[in-house]
């Protein structure tokens, strides 16, 4: 009877998870959707605590308290600009927890002497450890790159793909050994279960590092989405291992969400997942600037740009990662307010892979109090440019590079924001240095492109001051 009540509570929380996820899909209902998911989690946890025949409460409660306090502090104190890092860390923690649960289940089975009879169960345990640990270490490498502790450019080494492949194969072998394959062989029988377990965990930890290190900074939206998916799959695998359908359900939902985001991100760069994972794309050469000849650009000043903006009827701002780095979102919003006051139509065009995680620019601008109905996505923005007086590109480069429309360029076929269709384009940039892809950007040399060489935040603050003085 108690078991029935527990299962019914689990079903109720499964319904709440699905409902919450559905409501998370629209800006009007998203907050309540998140709250629904949280209450689903609370219900599931309470049910488990009540029905779980807990015998040692002390360690459990202390661990719950430590985790809650640390989680709440991180969520409150971390700055919005550090959101990609925080999401990466949370991903890693989820994956790590799933790996530990799977490992503990293995030790429990071994202690009870029952592991021999459940090869399928042991396979799910091995998968939980493998995927969970890869998520854990991979996420921390991603964190290191996003935080600037590790080089953002792809880090490669000789035979990198071969070595990663070999590592992966040996992990499969270890997983099979754990599941009892080849138990009759002498050298296998000599191994303790926990030795195989430790090797599997260690190998998976290395694999997570080896998979993320070669991926460059601008490809981080893909990596973060993929790790998000893995953290769900690891939870699902742990669910199989301990025979809990709610873990399987919630894990699968997250796995699917991460997978969809990964696909959207890959498509927005016109690259396959394999190319992102193994291409070591970007930064191969800052040398890729083909012709060294000084091509003329038209420089401009903040005064001139302010006039251009103030007397335009429509302005579209195209933000990129540079905006986040310079923390220019608040100054940008102030400029927007001043222009709107003057009757200028201002909107923001946001490329799906702008920034370091899916939706990065949207969160940043929301923090600065830019209303989300002023934000246009790729499909909404492109028809607008031909009707736009001034486009301001701030901290973006590859996503507005017209080379993407030509054949034979590394970014060929990548959908871009066609800002060159606007009447004039102002590019705020510190120098002419190439973007992440290491490509020169023909946009900068067009007749109707003006270059404003400055730090994004300073430029926005100066522009706001100039526009204010025009009154």
């Amino acid at each position: 009877m108690a078991l029935l009540a527990q299962q019914l509570a689990y079903i109720a929380s499964a319904v709440l998870f699905v409902w919450g996820l559905k409501r998370l899909g629209s800006p009007d209902t998203a907050r309540s959707g998140n709250a629904l998911s949280a209450s689903a989690m609370l219900l599931a946890l309470a049910t488990t605590l009540i029905a779980g025949e807990v015998i040692s409460w002390t360690v459990l409660l202390v661990a719950l308290a430590i985790g809650s306090i640390a989680g709440a502090l991180l969520a409150r104190l971390v700055r919005m600009t550090a959101m990609p890092q925080l999401v990466a860390v949370f991903n890693g923690f989820g994956g790590g927890a799933s790996a530990l649960v799977a490992a503990a289940e293995f030790l429990r089975l071994e202690a009870s002497g029952a592991q021999g009879g459940h090869p399928a169960l042991l396979v799910t345990i091995a998968l939980g450890i493998l995927v969970g640990t890869v998520t854990f270490t991979g996420s921390f490498v991603a964190f290191g790159k996003l935080q600037g502790l590790l080089p953002g450019r792809p880090v490669t080494w000789p035979l990198q793909r071969v070595l990663s492949g070999l590592l992966f194969v040996s992990l499969i072998v270890l997983g099979a050994l754990l599941a009892g394959v080849g138990a009759e062989l002498e050298f296998v029988a000599a191994l303790d279960g926990w030795e195989v377990l430790a090797l599997l965990g260690l190998g998976a930890a290395l694999l997570g590092i080896a998979l993320v290190l070669p991926i460059g900074g601008a490809d981080m939206p893909v990596v973060v989405s993929l790790l998000n998916s893995y953290s769900g799959l690891a939870a699902a695998a742990a669910g199989f291992a301990i025979g809990n359908p709610l873990l399987i359900l919630a894990g699968a939902l997250v796995g699917a969400a991460g997978l969809i985001l990964t696909r959207i991100m890959c498509r927005s760069m016109n690259r396959s997942l394999a190319n992102v994972a193994f291409g070591a794309f970007g930064g191969a050469g800052a040398t890729a600037t083909a012709d060294d000849g000084e091509r003329p650009v038209r420089r401009t000043t903040t005064e001139e740009t302010a006039l251009l903006l103030a007397y335009a009827s429509s302005v579209v701002v195209v933000p990129g990662y540079g905006l986040a780095v310079a923390q220019a979102q608040h100054e940008t919003r102030k400029l927007m307010d001043l222009l709107v006051e003057r009757g200028v139509k201002v909107s923001f065009a946001i490329h799906p892979v702008a920034g370091r995680m899916p939706g990065h620019m949207n969160v940043l601008l929301a923090e600065a109090d830019v209303p989300y109905d002023r934000l246009l996505d790729l499909d909404e923005a492109n028809p607008e440019f031909s009707r736009t007086d001034v486009v301001v590109v701030v901290g973006a480069n590859d996503v507005v590079n017209p080379l993407a429309r030509e054949a034979d360029s590394p970014i060929s076929g990548m959908p871009i924001l066609n800002v060159d269709e606007a009447r004039s384009v102002v590019v705020i940039k510190r120098s002419l240095s190439p973007g992440f892809a290491g490509l020169d950007n023909p946009l900068f040399y067009l007749d109707h492109t003006l270059m404003l060489f400055s730090d994004a935040r300073e430029a926005m603050a100066d522009l706001a001051r100039e526009v204010r003085e025009l009154k």
Binding site: A63, V87, V101
Partner: protein, 95 residues
């Protein structure tokens, strides 16, 4: 074996539901979606709690305790930070 097959049913159907639900989420919500989903993946906390609560050896207890801490950070932090982000999203008319 029956339990495994049932688990596969759940996994397959939940994946399909997830794909259908997420496919139409607007890009504006991609980050909160990801961090909200991420908090849900902390569901593994149930497994961690069971491990600690019923552990018999010290090894398993410590593994489980570490799992509880990690999963709780994931769950609590994930939901709170998602809420913090979503609170910032406003329409023009709401400013």
């Amino acid at each position: 074996m029956g339990e495994l097959i049932l688990g596969l049913y759940v996994f397959t159907l939940a994946t399909l539901v997830g794909v259908e639900l997420i496919r139409r989420v607007p890009p504006t919500l991609h980050t909160p979606l990801m961090s909200g989903a991420n908090a849900v993946s902390g569901i593994t906390i149930l497994g961690a709690v069971i491990v600690v609560g019923t552990a018999e050896g010290p090894w398993v207890t410590w593994l489980g305790a570490a799992a509880v801490v990690l999963a709780t950070v994931n769950v609590v932090g994930g939901f709170l930070v998602t809420d913090r982000m979503l609170r910032m999203f406003r329409r023009d008319s709401e400013r």
